[in-house]
Symmetry: C2
Subunit: 117 residues, 2 copies
């Protein structure tokens, strides 16, 4: 059993990936805590921030915690607006990017399989 009183209690580190801007990552529950299948991270994008527009061979499961953002998917489609309470599945191998479209922090839970925590 592990309980984190609030996800902001976990230390944040900058997302050091090409194509990311003003993004922080927190590993809230992961293999070191004994997660059997998936790890739970929280990403926080400052106003104007974004994650890389990319794809990878594993899924994301997302829960929006605070702020306003958008999920960009295939170039042919409009980004999807995200506000707190929204939840998303990004399947393996689909292009995607999260952006903060508001004027305060945009934070989302992002679960991935343990091997990609």
């Amino acid at each position: 059993m592990k309980v984190v009183s609030h996800w902001t209690d976990i230390e944040a580190s900058p997302v050091d990936m090409e194509g990311a801007r003003d993004a922080l990552k927190r590993l809230v529950l992961g293999p070191a805590d004994g997660t059997p299948l998936m790890a739970l991270r929280v990403f926080t994008l400052a106003p104007g921030g974004y994650t890389p527009y990319h794809s990878h061979p594993y899924e994301h499961m997302n829960v929006v915690l605070e702020g306003r953002g958008a999920l960009r998917v295939a170039d042919s489609e409009q980004p999807v607006a995200l506000t707190p309470g929204a939840m998303a599945l990004v399947p393996p191998d689909e292009m995607h990017q999260f952006r903060n479209t508001g004027d305060s922090d945009f934070s989302i839970v992002c679960l991935v399989p343990n091997d990609y925590a």
Copy 2:
């Protein structure tokens, strides 16, 4: 890709398990949506409501969305208070029970492996 604008858009059904009271379940993202490993459900406990005090051979990963509650674990330990932003891992085979300890709905994300959705 599947995006749910807000988890309350998903139809709720009563939790019909012995030992549960005033509990609703929403399957927000599951195998029918193509989740590779885990399914994302939301449980809502009305004031006074609770889930069964039980264990099972799979984990829960939890995110508190609204309200005030408690996570009861082994009988020898004090329940852990939960408020929005709290996150928890309940490992396989550990006794646990969620209770609403507030005066408004208590809602939590509860991820489980697909087979137990």
